[in-house]
């Protein structure tokens, strides 16, 4: 779980926008992409999507690349095709947060803007200098960019890479040696020639649509151990992170799922059982998905795993998992009962009905109304544009995203009352969460197929008190306030092809003070602080 220098000191930085209340919040989101100056359109093949690669979409990341305290935005881009020709090689884009409510595009100045057929992005400190580096997965070679610390990046030669269609990726310290290792998921083994010449061949609802993933060969996931000095060595089998079934992997989450202070790995597989790799503490993994109950749904069915949301839904201190799935198949909530016993609790938490018809991708569990529990957000969009011509399918290519309020014992669908931001219909894919406007609530960035992203500013009112803890080396942060206890865990990855802000956000409801805050260091030591103010950013750096 190390992310640069070990913790040595504790510093409290304050920014305060108090708006605490006991009244129930009305969740409201507004798309401000244009207002904020984000205009890059991200491409993914042709309009009719004859090849499954063209259903992949692209991811995005919210992270502070320049260390100025606010969140910047990275957009992965694909290619636009016309017939069997490449019409445009979309370039990735980096937007710097000016801190005044707008972004400026700084791609070229930052040394970025690769024009491979982009897929996903992972953020992590690859070289141990404390700065966030970028790994961009592609249909083609994956690229690692080192953050120079002066607002620019340099491409690392011989980047760890799956030279094919790679999807999710994650940096994490598997063996607790203080360096971030890397796992990249592979989806399908195909060539550009096959993509360019593809025709819709599969019969669906009386129409012809793209084929796959059934019938197509999967591409193995690969893992690299960080040797230090920016060098990586492939160690997939050695670490036990092999992909024997060549399953179609999309979202990847690195997190301590069994509470033993090392990082485990969860992989959402499309149309195959999901993987759960348990870490033995030394960076050796054993795949335990079926045993854990988190590989299949309650009926024993493998689903079309796309994205992963994670967080403690029921307040028991353990990380639960929400996996997004295909159209006419619900997203699955696996409640974590400890000792890696997961239980499909989708229906009990009211998630079956609202997630059954949408085709879902990026997802997040985050306290969007700052009332002290984790709400849900799911990005939706079908893979077949032909869905618009098939009314019996009860679906559309462009769909509304889904907002789910946690009311303590279950989720309630608030999509229809959450303002204009939730009325937008796109074929959405990636999702990243973070407070980009620095007002204490969590905003959302969503990538859309062949369109500009949606940037949902959180305008929910009234909103509870909050706390943002910037403690990259803490494995766990626990806050007690207003008679409630909440825990956030060190995690990386999740969602779909995207990277959210890594700081820990707490909604505190009506609490006026924080009674106790406890940080678990990577060495397993707890550091405790008492009687802290709310509506603050707490920065914990170099604390041993």
């Amino acid at each position: 779980m190390s992310h640069g220098a070990p913790l040595r000191a504790f510093l409290v930085v304050t920014t305060a926008v108090a708006m605490t209340t006991e009244a129930a919040a009305e969740l409201r989101f507004v798309d401000v992409a244009a207002e904020m100056g984000v205009t890059t359109r991200t491409w993914c093949g042709r309009e009719e999507k004859p090849h499954i690669l063209e259903s992949n979409g692209t991811g995005l990341a919210l992270f502070d690349y320049d260390g100025d305290g606010d969140l910047d935005l990275y957009l992965v881009n694909g290619w636009r095709l016309e017939g069997a020709e490449i019409a445009e090689r979309g370039r990735d884009a980096l937007y710097r947060n000016r801190g005044d409510g707008t972004f400026e595009e700084v791609t070229a100045a930052a040394g970025l803007g690769q024009d491979g057929w982009g897929s996903g992005v992972a953020v992590g400190d690859a070289d141990g200098d404390g700065l966030p580096d970028l790994l961009v997965t592609n249909f083609g070679p994956d690229l690692l960019y080192r953050n120079r610390g002066d607002g620019t990046f340099e491409q690392v030669p011989d980047s760890p890479s799956i030279d094919g269609w790679s999807a999710g990726a994650v940096f994490f310290d598997a063996d607790r040696d203080g360096r971030n290792d890397l796992l990249i998921g592979g989806y399908i083994d195909c060539t550009l020639g096959e993509v360019l010449t593809a025709r819709p061949e599969l019969a669906w609802q009386g129409l012809r649509v793209m084929a796959g993933p059934f019938g197509l060969e999967g591409l193995a996931n690969r893992y690299w151990h960080n040797e230090g000095g920016g060098r990586f060595r492939e160690a997939t089998s050695e670490a036990g992170l092999s992909d024997p079934g060549l399953y179609y992997s999309f979202g990847i989450l690195a997190a301590d799922l069994d509470g033993d202070d090392d990082v485990d790995v969860y992989v959402a597989n499309d149309s195959n059982p999901n993987y759960l790799y348990r870490n033995d503490g030394g960076g050796r993994f054993q795949e335990m998905g079926l045993w854990s109950g988190a590989a299949l749904d309650h009926g024993g069915n493998a689903q079309a795993g796309m994205g992963i949301a994670h967080g403690d839904v029921n307040g028991d201190g353990r990380l639960d998992i929400l996996v997004t799935n295909f159209w006419k198949d619900a997203s699955t909530l696996y409640l974590n009962h400890g000792d890696l016993v997961f239980e499909d609790s989708t229906s009990a938490w009211g998630l079956h009905a609202p997630t059954f018809l949408p085709l879902s991708w990026g997802a997040a569990l985050a306290d969007l109304d700052a009332d002290g529990d984790l709400d849900g957000f799911v990005a939706n969009g079908h893979i077949y544009p032909q869905a618009d011509l098939a009314p019996a399918a009860e679906t559309r290519f462009r769909q509304r995203n889904l907002l789910l309020e946690n009311v303590g014992s279950h989720f309630v669908d608030r999509t229809s009352t959450a303002g204009p931001g939730l009325e937008i219909e796109e074929s959405s894919r990636g999702l990243a969460v973070g407070d980009w406007d620095g007002d204490g609530d969590l905003d959302l960035a969503i990538s859309n197929m062949d369109a500009v992203p949606t940037l949902l500013r959180n305008d929910s009112t009234p909103r509870g008190a909050w706390l943002l803890v910037d403690a990259p080396a803490a494995s766990r942060v626990t806050v007690e306030a207003g008679g409630a206890r909440q825990t956030r865990h060190w995690t990386a990855g999740g969602s779909y092809l995207s990277a959210s802000d890594r700081r820990h956000h707490f909604g505190l409801g009506a609490a006026e003070r924080i009674d106790r805050l406890r940080l678990r260091t990577e060495a397993g030591r707890d550091i405790e602080l008492r009687d802290l103010p709310v509506d603050r950013v707490l920065v914990a750096r170099s604390l041993r």
Binding site: F214, G215, L216, E217, G218, D243, P244, G245, L246, Y247, N272, P273, Y275, E287, M288, G289, L290, W291, G293, L296, H298, G299, G300, N301, H337, D339, V341, E343
Partner: protein, 161 residues
């Protein structure tokens, strides 16, 4: 493979015969018979093979049960319910991609998962319930009860030819 060679050889011979054949020549029928034997034997061989995989998981579970290793028992139960591990799943994926469905008709009826040979959907669900019950059991009696449920299901599946 031998049968395929024989059929090919007979068909090549037929091509050289003068006039029209009024009936399928006996050697062709015999070759097809041999080929049918091979096809059906392969199906039986696949069934026997998967049965042996399941039998292996059941035996392993029993041995671990004797040692009191309930987590190990649970792992073997999971593998039995899923008709093998992820490597076996990969092979099954290849077979499905190649158009081979062992219980095609029963898959249509929702009785079997695609490509599954022995474990029905219903049995799989019950086995996974037993697995969860075992892992969540608070005492030995609960674990033994869950294990018994699983054993009964496994016995039923393996006893049906």
């Amino acid at each position: 493979m031998k049968a395929i060679v024989r059929v090919t050889a007979v068909l090549l011979t037929l091509g050289a015969l003068p006039g029209l054949a009024q009936e399928t020549p006996k050697p062709v029928v015999q070759a097809y018979e041999a080929l049918a034997d091979t096809i059906l034997a392969l199906r039986q061989a696949e069934s026997a093979f998967v049965r042996s995989v399941l039998d292996g998981h059941l035996h392993a579970a029993r041995a671990l049960r004797e040692k009191g290793d309930w987590e190990g028992v649970a792992a073997q139960m999971a593998l039995f319910a899923n008709e093998g591990d992820n490597a076996i799943g990969g092979v099954r994926k290849r077979l499905l991609d190649g158009g081979h469905h062992f219980n095609a008709e029963e898959e249509e009826q929702g009785i079997y998962e695609p490509g599954y040979v022995i474990v029905t959907k219903k049995a799989k669900r019950k086995m996974l319930e037993a697995l969860t019950a075992l892992r969540q059991a608070e005492d030995e009696a609960g674990r033994v009860a869950a294990w018994s449920d699983f054993k009964e299901l496994a016995r039923e599946l393996l006893s049906v030819e």
